[in-house]
């Protein structure tokens, strides 16, 4: 009885391990997959594309986005939440806009994050976060930093 129980336990552990490794593998595969690579585009196109994402987010929800920009963070006193952003500039460099992002693995700020204004490249899934008042904002979820 003990032997049967121990074998079942081992098989169960192996199954859980294989499941967890396959999910990690799947995450790795999906991490490399990108639906929209903004790093391949000119600055004019990137700015226009991000403008489209901000004004018509529903067209991009669920897509994996790769983008390069300047790192920025902001602490919202009301929601007690720190937001991270990837900021890009237009061709005249007078206008800038950005997308908020959430990292795939929890990180401590500022230790595990780049310095403000430094260049970053991220990959993540585009989403639209709705707030309680119904107004929302676009955000890149499960973002990973690319070196």
């Amino acid at each position: 009885m003990y032997k049967v129980f121990s074998r079942i336990t081992i098989i169960a552990i192996l199954c859980i391990f294989s499941l967890s490794t396959s999910s990690v593998a799947a995450e790795n595969i999906s991490a490399n997959h990108v639906d929209l690579d903004l790093t391949r585009m000119s600055s004019t196109m990137v700015y226009s594309m991000v403008f489209q994402m901000v004004t018509e987010p529903q067209k991009f929800v669920g897509k994996r986005i790769k983008m390069k920009g300047a790192f920025s963070s902001y602490y919202d006193e009301e929601s007690k939440r720190r937001f991270f952003g990837c900021v890009i500039k237009d061709a005249l460099a007078c206008c800038s806009q950005g997308l908020a992002f959430e990292t795939f693995k929890p990180r401590k700020y500022p230790k595990d994050f780049p310095s403000e204004g430094s260049s970053i490249t991220i990959i993540g899934r585009f989403d639209y976060e709705k707030e309680e008042d119904g107004i929302g904002f676009p955000i890149i979820r499960n973002a990973i930093f690319i070196k």
């Binding site: 004019t44 196109m45 403008f51 061709a91 007078c94 206008c95």
Partner: protein
């Protein structure tokens, strides 16, 4: 490069930019010939500054469709400038300079005092230089531009002979029975519409280039009114298309790139003619 271009053309907003850019450059070049010949080359600049001032007023009043304010105000000032005639107390270039500088100053002042935007400098910069406006158009903007462009083109074709007559000699046109006042009014309205549309393409400060350069380039090579008008339209459309494509491929500001193309075309025509 072509792969990249076809990749960009997959996005609707790039196609919208090309459609609107072509139509605006076509319309502006047609009237450009008349304005250059009537010595009103600088009116485009003055009216675009007025449109900027009207845009600031629309922003302050929080009007959703800012065209409801920009278009009537620009048309009214265009009528005042072009139809003021010899009886006006402040004439010609002085009136244009006054309106141009005044509208720009008031517009910027209003945007600074009342704007709810976090980036006033950015908003002003975009409006004046048209950095991205053409690549951020909505389908409704495109429909409006197409409709207004058709109105301008049809009006120009229908009244081509009358416009030709008052361009060269108003007194002779009046003697032959042309209602000069009415057609000056028509030209004023059309040029105001074109200026408002062209602000999206090159920005308020660079609108004059769209009006003046294609006409002057065509005048280097051709001599008749008809051939100059057709050549100006062709040069303007080619320069705008080339400017938009270079801007999206090289990441340069759209308005400045289009104007740079117009300058290159003018230099080519100038060298060819001499």
């Amino acid at each position: 490069m072509f792969d990249q271009l076809f990749f960009y053309l997959d996005f609707p907003f790039v196609r919208y930019a090309i459609i609107v850019g072509t139509l605006i450059s076509l319309c502006s070049s047609l009237l450009g010939v008349t304005l250059v010949l009537k010595r009103y080359s600088y009116i485009g600049d003055g009216l675009s500054h007025v449109a900027f001032g009207a845009l600031a007023i629309a922003a302050v009043l929080k009007v959703t469709n800012n065209m409801l304010i920009i278009l009537p105000v620009t048309i009214a000032v265009a009528i005042l400038l072009l139809c003021g005639g010899k009886d006006a107390r402040i004439k010609g270039d002085a009136a244009i300079a006054m309106v141009s500088a005044g509208a720009l100053a008031i517009g910027y002042l209003l945007m600074n005092i009342f704007s709810s935007s976090a980036n006033v400098a950015g908003d002003v910069c975009t409006t004046l230089f048209g950095s991205m406006s053409i690549l951020t158009l909505k389908p409704t903007d495109v429909y409006l531009c197409v409709a207004l462009s058709i109105v301008v083109l049809v009006t120009f074709v229908l009244f081509y002979h009358k416009i030709f007559a008052i361009t060269f000699d108003e007194n002779f046109a009046r003697a032959t029975g042309v209602n000069v006042t009415l057609f000056n009014l028509l030209i004023a309205i059309i040029i105001a519409v074109i200026i408002v549309l062209a602000m999206n393409l090159v920005g308020a400060l660079l609108v004059s280039a769209l009006v003046v350069f294609p006409a002057l380039s065509a005048m280097r090579i051709f001599k008749s009114f008809f051939s100059v008008t057709v050549a100006a339209a062709v040069i303007s459309v080619i320069c705008s298309l080339a400017g938009i494509l270079v801007a999206i491929l090289a990441g340069t500001p759209v308005g400045s790139t289009i104007v740079a193309m117009d300058i290159v075309a003018f230099l080519i025509c100038f060298i060819t003619s001499s």
